[in-house]
Symmetry: C5
Subunit: 364 residues, 5 copies
Amino acid sequence: MASELHFRKGKPGAAPGVEYDEIQKLPSGTSPVYVSCIDYSQDQVLVQDVDDLKGFLAQHRPEWSAVRWINVDGLTDMEVIHALAAKYQLHPLAVEDLIKIPERPKVESIGGSDSELQTRLFIIARMLQIDDGQLQNEQVSIFLGHKTVLTFQENRGDVWDPIRQRIQRKGSRLRLNDASFLVYALLDAIVDHCFPILEYYGDRLEELEDLVLSDPQRTTISAIHKIKRELLLLRRAAWPMREVISILHKEPHECMSDVTRIYLRDIYDHIVQIIDIIETYRELANDLTETYISSVSNRMNEVMKVLTVIGSIFIPLTFLAGVYGMNFHYFPELDKAWGYPAFWAVCVVLSGTLLVIFHRRGWL
Amino acid sequence: MASELHFRKGKPGAAPGVEYDEIQKLPSGTSPVYVSCIDYSQDQVLVQDVDDLKGFLAQHRPEWSAVRWINVDGLTDMEVIHALAAKYQLHPLAVEDLIKIPERPKVESIGGSDSELQTRLFIIARMLQIDDGQLQNEQVSIFLGHKTVLTFQENRGDVWDPIRQRIQRKGSRLRLNDASFLVYALLDAIVDHCFPILEYYGDRLEELEDLVLSDPQRTTISAIHKIKRELLLLRRAAWPMREVISILHKEPHECMSDVTRIYLRDIYDHIVQIIDIIETYRELANDLTETYISSVSNRMNEVMKVLTVIGSIFIPLTFLAGVYGMNFHYFPELDKAWGYPAFWAVCVVLSGTLLVIFHRRGWL
Amino acid sequence: MASELHFRKGKPGAAPGVEYDEIQKLPSGTSPVYVSCIDYSQDQVLVQDVDDLKGFLAQHRPEWSAVRWINVDGLTDMEVIHALAAKYQLHPLAVEDLIKIPERPKVESIGGSDSELQTRLFIIARMLQIDDGQLQNEQVSIFLGHKTVLTFQENRGDVWDPIRQRIQRKGSRLRLNDASFLVYALLDAIVDHCFPILEYYGDRLEELEDLVLSDPQRTTISAIHKIKRELLLLRRAAWPMREVISILHKEPHECMSDVTRIYLRDIYDHIVQIIDIIETYRELANDLTETYISSVSNRMNEVMKVLTVIGSIFIPLTFLAGVYGMNFHYFPELDKAWGYPAFWAVCVVLSGTLLVIFHRRGWL
Amino acid sequence: MASELHFRKGKPGAAPGVEYDEIQKLPSGTSPVYVSCIDYSQDQVLVQDVDDLKGFLAQHRPEWSAVRWINVDGLTDMEVIHALAAKYQLHPLAVEDLIKIPERPKVESIGGSDSELQTRLFIIARMLQIDDGQLQNEQVSIFLGHKTVLTFQENRGDVWDPIRQRIQRKGSRLRLNDASFLVYALLDAIVDHCFPILEYYGDRLEELEDLVLSDPQRTTISAIHKIKRELLLLRRAAWPMREVISILHKEPHECMSDVTRIYLRDIYDHIVQIIDIIETYRELANDLTETYISSVSNRMNEVMKVLTVIGSIFIPLTFLAGVYGMNFHYFPELDKAWGYPAFWAVCVVLSGTLLVIFHRRGWL
Amino acid sequence: MASELHFRKGKPGAAPGVEYDEIQKLPSGTSPVYVSCIDYSQDQVLVQDVDDLKGFLAQHRPEWSAVRWINVDGLTDMEVIHALAAKYQLHPLAVEDLIKIPERPKVESIGGSDSELQTRLFIIARMLQIDDGQLQNEQVSIFLGHKTVLTFQENRGDVWDPIRQRIQRKGSRLRLNDASFLVYALLDAIVDHCFPILEYYGDRLEELEDLVLSDPQRTTISAIHKIKRELLLLRRAAWPMREVISILHKEPHECMSDVTRIYLRDIYDHIVQIIDIIETYRELANDLTETYISSVSNRMNEVMKVLTVIGSIFIPLTFLAGVYGMNFHYFPELDKAWGYPAFWAVCVVLSGTLLVIFHRRGWL
């Protein structure tokens, strides 16, 4: 089973949510954590790699900054998460979801008028990548405020480099729009990245199909099984993503601009198409197993026919040869001159008759 | 896997939508593009093949023209698409859907009172054809305005020639109605064209059924697999078409006349019937695989019975013949005169007994 | 595939609906068409076989006639259909559905206050019959007006003779009620006629079950496949009939009296029960295929055990006999007096040991 | 197929419903019919076996009687049904459902303010019992009025004896409540009686599971098939019962007291649990067939391995022995003294090599 | 079948619900029952093991106690249940559900303004644990009042020790909140405890997958069957738990504080994720059976190929050797000097040809 099915959940029965002061007490991992920050407005862009997060958060953002996007690669340094959670007032339950992966993709509105916390949209998504033929599966957590976007990834390396380039390009639609449009672009990149993955699986299915029909091997069935398992994982990521996009598209939220919501419709169409294709692939893969069994049965049938035809002809003849190899003293046929030719005649007639019968049954 | 499952999507993470000025920058293909225009009203028709699109669009349409239908065959010339998108104010997201095929069939209302763009209905449909036993699958994009219909196809050749003829015929219902009725007629032709396709698959299933029951071959199972895969593709085209027609039929839109909406009910009935038949065929095809496995198992059983009957009778007899072929010096039976006849008697009794047993078990 | 899956649809792209004047231009078939008319009220009945339809339609109906039922057997004479369509103002789309069979069962309200046509309920149903072990499947189109019922069948012969008799019987509930009650009775007869069909399939399944478990033949699997295919067809007829009855029962319509709608509840219960039974039969039939495969596997296993037991015992013994049949000049055992008895002793011990082993494995 | 799938429906096309005067004309069966009546109130109980139904119905019930429960065992005496139908004004369609079994479980409100008939709730339920390992399946029809409960069963013997005892016990909740509470108790007994049935099937599945895994026989597969068929019948009885209870629980009715409706919630929970268990059993039974096939395949594999190992070793050796049994005059090896020992050496080396190969492949 | 499928229901037809005075009459079991009580408020905690329940219930709770949680381990002592039912006015139907296990997880609101009983939420949940590789499955009944929580478990030992510790810890969120928050924490512990169980099954599936693909044994298929059965039980516990949590989260109730309802959303996300994973595991397990059958078929095919190749080569050769072992007096070949070498030449050519043929067919 792939490691995607294992959990880094808290101990059952532990307290729900993670308070700010508790975060720091959690054991930090050793792998490095990278924080970067991009501020942009219609006219200006500033990209910073943040090494001293505390100092950075203590400063105010530049006045011209219309959108600030802070991206964190790595969830192991609890100091970093604590600092951001405290600064941006992230809800304890959201922080728990952020740390205790894997969580199911979902969207939640946090805070707002009745609450002491600021309104935020909290989105959990899955970022899928094919790496060396392995399906990689990373959790991405996104907090959207009015002018700020926080993103948390498990590992370095993502599908967002084209977005970073588009932010740099003056006049791009990203620069002209607000923070929610950035979130749209991030989700769009995640969703669109499924198409090359699907293409990869389409190619694999095509290869397997050829193998199953032309030369079914023992390795073929384990390849089919593997592809089915990965399609199950893909599907388990895609269905809740569809829910997430649908909620973002349909339910108004104060952090989500109307323009962005129109564009979300486009992602929704894509995710529906992706689910369609996953389900089609799953049916094709299921059918491949049946075709494999059919194909193996058919081949076994052919093998058996050969054995049966040869056995049915020669086993009786061998018996006959055995008979005339017996050493009985009284054995009239052996003395006749016609004995040996007659033996061959019987053999030819017998095997000829059987060949005709087998031919009629379609075994030849 | 059929090429229908491959994508010509944009690079993931690219900017959403295609602006007018961006269209021209996209790489154009080399295959030729044909544009034709039909203007008609109750009394007059004008059919033009458009070679110089820019010049053509610069002119006003004839005053008498009640409906203008511009059809584009081929999506490779970005100049053409740019010119039409600019003239008819097509939404960037719609232009993207138009170019980046395959897109899932859908219907969208674009523009309207709140928007700077004119109201249009944007419909994506799939046009299915059987060509040389291969299921062909082409995306058709339709823009419906108040008096204008734009259609974009991937390749030349379509199912709409009867409609062109009906437009020419004075007094035909097409001539008496508005632009939305033309769209209805176009969709009706696309949907009704599925019936001959279904008939083709019905005939193929019938042939395969005969083969499976009378003479299951290795090629039979790959034919069943192929038909299942194509029915999956058909179904993936039909279900969203049903949604499209249902939305057009049920949701009022200012470009869609009431008369047309009554007629759309008829397409809806047809597409539901088509889906019914596809699902029935799919179940029949699934059942064929099981029947194939049953049939092969049964045949293998028959083959095995023959081998077993012949083996069970002659293997012991051959042993017996072998025994009396041994060269032991002390071998009392060999000297008896009744030895050889007794041997045959034993053989007859033994094989007779086995034949009775096998007959009772139903193996003969 | 059964002919039920073939279509007599119009050419794709043809004009939608069939106008009155177009009907006559359609090619008429040669098979004869029978028209009959029954007028009845509480007190009087008049049954007529109509030969001269034009003359008949020109006359007014008798004043006492509360309900007029015109039944047409055969859809090949376009003159007849034209005459009735013109007289009773049938909608072009309905006429198309009537002629271009098979159409999916459905119910539609035509005409009414906003329309120039009179209000009618247009119902398409499937009449199923078992004929010589073949499932027959005929389309019935019913038009219900305030005082008139038109019925169109593909062929002569139907399930409505008991209704004709009940109309003749004075005081029967049919005579006391209106035209919609007649339609109820017609639909009730069609639906109730499914019970003997289901009983037929129940008996067939029972026979097949016995065959599968006692003596699975090659013909058995094709019989199972055939029954599955016919249950699919039954189901494809029953589900839309359920929709039709449900709509008639639940949605008020001016041609449908309240009394009739109460009775429709009864048909609804029956059609739900029929669908229940069809689904149960389908599951039983699916299970039969699996049981068949299991049963064949089991039998093959038994066959293989016999071959293996006999082969495993006698093949080594035959080798041994072969050894002592060799002609080596130096062959010490052959000269011993105990050679031959020792050979038999070895054979008995060897085969005895193997028999014990096989017995322990449960192969005997 | 079990007889539960056969119908005692009327002739298709017959008149709907059965009027009071028609009941008597229906053919009566010969099996005896038992009618009993229990009147009770908080303080008094009277149990009567009714032999003279007409006389009995002519009398008024005792004034103190709060609830009268008339139970009819046997549906063959049309006089009895006519007398009760006339006395308690049962609707013709309800009488038809009562007589023409099997009917699907359902609940209907009959009569009321707009009707000339008195309000009644008409309930059809299925009473399931295991008798001698056979699933028995009886239709129970219940009419609930304000102070009267009529129940009709197909055969004598039911699951209601504990209820009769509870009515006798002064102060029991049945005695304190109204007629609808009696109906609740009757339905509760019917539903709760499914638990021992489920336990029976649970035990059967457990036995079959052991058999399939340890020693799959030909009878095992028919036992699995039988259990699947009976679970299908159980399910077909349970799902509509769930609907019936749900409607009784949720929809207020003047014959149904509020107290009773709270208690109905409890039956609803039980029927949902029963359906849960049936579905679980069905999945387990389906899985058993697959496990059976797997198990048989595996055993066949083992059988084949033995045959192949023995065949592969001894068939070549027998050939070799045959070679040296040939009678060629020029045959150099036969004269050598080392010939015979060399033969054995070759045999030992050859079979040893093969044994090593087979061992490596895991066939030993 | 696991004992989880057996029932300790009452006798069918028995009176519904259990009145207070009836409880004491029920037969008590012999296993000991443990009652403990925890009172806590923001500032104080008191933990008591209750031996003398009657005396304990006669006292008032401490004034400072904000929440009293009484936990009962063991349902066998009817005195205990009677005492608590009488003291806390538990509804007879709830008491019945409590005693007569297994009941389906559910939530019910009992009592309230219209009733003589106090308002309570009555929740039935399943607590799952893996013990020695066996899935243990215990029913937990929870009564939530305004300031009181009663919990009943079947056996001693639960998943709530971390909660008991958190209650002891001053300032923990449990101490700051009301009784409904305690119920949330209890349910959260039960639900989160499913993750280690799922991890256990994930590991088992992984092991089985390796076995199926590398070395399918007879024990493998029974292990797959066992895991499928346990996943069915898991699922049967998880789906109604999802309903329970959903109702608690969505429907306001006077005993349930708003704060708690926000936290319930978190459990809901977890239970949905658990169901997702169970369904994924079920599909993987189903696929394993198919892969097992494929794998066994493939292996059988390999075995058959070996037998067929060896048989096809040596059976004809043995016949030939047998021929020249015959003792006919007239046998020309035997006298030739080239006879014996020619025999070997024929053997080599024949077997070489067959090897080439088999190689081409891919059997080698």
